[in-house]
């Protein structure tokens, strides 16, 4: 049985909705630069950028970078205070 990450006890993940495609993912940030993103299947299906990038068949799923729309949505959530950051 895999245990849960001890760091989640201090700060759990927060749902963030992408402003572009409305995919919802769970996000955790320990600092402005650090970001953890947990996708589920519905979110991955909803992401337009992902579909376009992987649809061409040249990119492997694990090489697809964080989509720009989601990155921006997370940044905005942090700036607006909806998304907590472990340390300021």
């Amino acid at each position: 049985m895999i245990r849960s990450d001890n760091r989640l006890a201090d700060l759990p993940m927060t749902p963030v909705e992408c402003l572009r495609c409305h995919a919802t993912v769970r996000v955790r940030k320990s600092s402005w630069q650090q970001t953890s993103i947990q996708w589920d299947e519905a979110g991955a299906r909803a992401c337009l950028e992902r579909r376009t990038a992987l649809g061409r068949g040249e990119l492997r799923a694990a090489d697809f970078p964080t989509c720009a729309g989601l990155r921006e949505s997370i940044d905005r959530a942090v700036v607006s205070g909806r998304m907590p950051v472990a340390e300021g």
């Binding site: 849960s4 001890n6 760091r7 650090q34 947990q38």
Partner: protein, 384 residues
């Protein structure tokens, strides 16, 4: 003086390593090694296997023990398309069926042994291990390696070593940024993991460390490297590794792969190819490959030194500057359960970008201190 006891102390918890072996493709080594017309014994997955090339050129993998009276087929002889047992000359085909018993009128019913699906690709031999006995999963076919068996690249330089640890220790490295500085004397400046499906990727950039790999006067200055590495399944990692020098970039592909001998030991293998280019002819590229392979070899020796002394730990205590060790292990778990029991969270996409600000600040200071100490020691050293 007070003793810390009871609830103040964090206990290391660890269940025994699984008895089951991971489902997936495992590389047994360079395919050419097995093409000498002789049977080869391989201890893997808690068993003994025999690898042989049949007359039709195919590489086959069978359970090493003959179903007749238990003779060791790896001590036998290849005869045509079959492996002949040294005990009574029973002939076994690569499909696991007994084809012939020279001294008998007919082969008994159900004369079938365990045959392992094989894949001969890019100069490497793979076997599919599956505790459920299913055929290989199509989406998990190992990726083609750019440059393998290509004239524009060097041949494989390949090493193999046996490690007396459970294989999970090597997997953990995928998410472990800080050990690259402390164990391998690298200097990671960027680090990101992406786990999705059966792939676990690690994107890492690093810069040169003058204290551990000083620049040699008259040679091009090494600046750093970029690395895109990914495990495809439980045991086969490719790493597109570019070394950046002031005058050129050198592109290499590194393979890191392993197969379990049993639950407490595994065979670790690594191979490297280097792209030839302007300013890097055949001989020079081969020299780079040999040199880099030596670094990789030393790197794994540094890991092994840690592994053989460390405790197995299921509840690592992580700080915010560590990578996603738990999520990596959750991904890895998919290969140890039946396909029907793979839970969504084992395969759903997970991204983790590390903040290297604090580690880099501390490491830079450490490098400068090391350099100052080296300079001071050089000043003190008597002139020969």
């Amino acid at each position: 003086m007070t003793m810390t006891t009871g609830s103040e102390v964090r206990a290391i918890e660890a269940a025994a390593a699984p008895k089951r072996f991971a489902r997936g493709w495992h590389c047994l080594g360079l395919a050419d090694r097995f093409r000498d017309g002789k049977p080869h014994p391989v201890r893997a997955f808690g068993q003994k296997l025999v690898v042989f090339q049949s007359g039709d050129g195919r590489l086959n993998v069978l359970d090493a023990y003959c179903r007749h009276m238990g003779g060791d087929l790896s001590q036998g002889t290849v005869k045509g398309d079959e492996i002949a047992c040294p005990f009574h000359d029973w002939r076994w085909g690569g499909d696991g069926r007994c084809k012939q018993i020279p001294y008998a009128r007919r082969v008994p019913l159900r004369a079938r042994t365990a045959a392992w699906p094989t894949l001969d690709q890019d100069g490497m031999l793979f076997v599919w291990n599956d505790p459920e006995g299913n055929p290989p999963r199509e989406q998990e076919t190992p990726p083609r390696i750019e440059g393998a068996l290509d004239d524009g690249w060097t041949d494989w330089i390949w090493y193999e070593t046996t490690v007396e640890s459970n294989v999970r220790e090597v997997i953990d490295n995928v998410a472990d940024m800080a050990h690259f500085f402390y164990v391998h004397f690298n200097f990671p400046t960027y680090f990101k993991n992406i786990f999705e499906g059966h792939v676990a990727a690690q994107h890492m950039n690093g810069k040169a460390r003058e204290d551990t790999r000083p620049h040699v006067e008259g040679t091009p200055r090494y600046l750093g490297n970029t690395s895109v590495a990914a495990y495809y399944g439980p045991s086969f990692m490719t790493d597109e590794l570019t070394y950046k020098y002031e005058d050129m970039d050198i592109r290499t592909t590194l393979i890191n792969c392993h197969y379990p001998i049993d639950e407490s030991s595994f065979v670790l293998q690594y191979g490297i190819i280097v792209r030839k280019q302007a300013g890097l002819d055949e001989e020079a590229a081969m020299e780079v490959a040999t040199t880099q392979a030596e670094y990789v070899k030393r790197g794994f020796e540094q890991d092994v030194e840690i592994w053989k002394n460390k405790a197995r730990i299921d509840n690592p205590l992580l700080c915010e500057e560590d990578g996603p060790v738990y999520q990596l292990r959750r991904w890895y778990e998919q290969f140890y359960v039946d396909v029907a029991d793979i839970r969504p969270e084992m395969v759903e996409r997970f991204e983790y970008e590390l903040d290297t600000t604090k580690p880099n600040e501390i490491w830079q200071k450490q490098v400068e201190e090391n350099l100052a100490a080296q300079a001071a020691a050089a000043d003190r050293a008597p002139v020969a």
